[in-house]
Symmetry: C2
Subunit: 294 residues, 2 copies
């Protein structure tokens, strides 16, 4: 589907800010080939969901996009590193990502590992070096580490790898994996935006809960798309979860059950926005992410 008007307006407004900042730091340096590998994956496009949510959360509490920009860039670096490493032969072993060969197919495995490592490092570097209030900056850095680390995304990816060897597991375990693997960084995206925008404690909690709910919705929709869309539509291999007998929301709940769970998670996300004055964009994004086609 095409993005709805509100989402498209936000993208038109915010994407130039992101695109300028994302790759500029990696053009001049000694490690030329590594810089190319980092830029290759940053320039592959993608929806920029995490940085956009970060900027919108900052605006939702009265901040400006410029205040949250270092956080937004950091989140896209972390997300991009995770895609590069997830695609490696020792992990999901994918050749195609966003319609192009994966990083290790172009630059080799060694450089792909290092490009991921360097992007993860620069994520913290761009935040640490930003001209922000030191307390906000430290809080954002701690949230980023929490969302990306062994209690968040990296831990979820490890459980997901281990899950492929389990004969079966239940809905609670599936939820745990996704809360860590996908949910933790999405939640951090929203909460970092809130912190950098100077959110009051209640608004910050509400946005954290919103982030948690859209993280769940995002993953359910990912599973539904993997089961129903084609490779050409996704720009990556389709049906790969079913192909390796992986447990997903559709495999546990059926397609209709998964769609209902998706709707409930989206409703939950919308409810948590109720107390915020500037909630239109975040509400539109919650609905859009649940209906996206890739």
């Amino acid at each position: 589907m095409e993005a709805p008007a509100q989402v498209q307006a936000d993208l038109d407004r915010l994407m130039p800010l992101l695109d300028t900042g994302l790759t500029a730091p990696f053009r001049q340096g000694d490690a030329v080939r590594l810089g190319e590998a980092m830029r290759y994956s940053l320039e592959a496009g993608g929806k920029r969901v995490r940085p956009v949510l970060c900027l919108l959360a900052c605006e939702a509490v009265g901040g400006t996009p410029a205040e949250a920009l270092p956080g937004a860039l950091a989140l896209e670096y972390v997300h991009t590193y995770s895609l590069i490493h997830d695609d490696l032969p020792a992990m999901d072993d994918d050749d195609l990502r966003r319609g192009r060969p994966t990083n290790h197919k172009v630059f080799g495995e060694g450089h792909a590992i290092l490009a991921g490592d360097a992007l993860l490092t620069e994520a913290f570097g761009v935040l640490a070096g930003a001209a922000l209030d030191p307390v906000k900056r430290a809080e954002a850095l701690a949230l980023l580490a929490e969302g990306a680390g062994w209690r968040g995304m990296a831990g979820g990816q490890a459980l997901d790898l281990e899950g492929e060897k389990l004969a079966t597991y239940d809905l609670d375990h599936l939820r745990l994996i996704h809360r860590l693997k996908t949910g933790a960084l999405l939640r951090a995206s929203v909460e970092i935006g809130a912190v950098l925008g100077g959110a009051a404690p209640e608004a910050r909690s509400a946005l954290r809960a919103y982030g948690e709910a859209i993280g769940l919705a995002f993953q359910i929709q990912d599973d539904i798309l993997d089961a129903t869309a084609t490779e050409a539509e996704l720009g990556k291999r389709a049906g790969k979860d079913a192909g390796r007998g992986k447990i997903t929301y559709p495999s546990l709940l059926g397609l209709d059950g998964a769609r209902q769970a998706l709707e409930e998670a989206t409703e939950t996300a919308l409810c948590h926005l109720a107390s915020l004055p500037n909630r239109n964009s975040l509400a539109a994004w919650a609905r859009y992410l649940a209906l996206r086609a890739k």
Copy 2:
């Protein structure tokens, strides 16, 4: 050789502080196996050079070890992640590290990649979450990212990988690689300690220059050891540089030339300490690192 008295006294004093802090955070969590993989490499021992230098630099400018401890832990996490990733089949392809099977040999490649990723993330997390002055904390985080990232250690490792495919390269290129690959994090170790100890600008510059010089000395001695020591002495594969025709200080300068370069770098390091009142420990470490047997 045994550590000299001053070095041994510092180790006896500082190691308990480090050993308690290093693995404690990774015992309780959902990603049990990933936590085990992280602890396996953290517990493998090693000289803890980077965290010890960080604590000593803090003391050299009048701070206490406790003030620099989060920085010291962060540095050991970064160093440990780099060893895990460097040992992977796509990088140096090593089976043995500190006398034990490498991380990927025990936990598999996927978990080894993730254990490295998670340790790198936690390095920033432990600093970001520490109860330190926010300005010092942000400076330490920026220095850590600079030392570890694509302009530092990760960039140097990429150049080193690329160098294996070059027919030959000169001393300047070798120096560049090692300044990034080994030197940047050692320099950061000392400078982070200085910052967390509240160093005045001149003392911070002097310690940064000391760190740069011992980084060079460290790498020259590494090359000399690779060419002259046995696997049993090193606890890792010996002669691997020569075995793959890699350019090293001994191969460019001869063993005597390399030993002279090592002595010069150590002298440079010692000179930069001249203006510091509490310089005895750092001076002893510079001499010790140049004479170490593994």
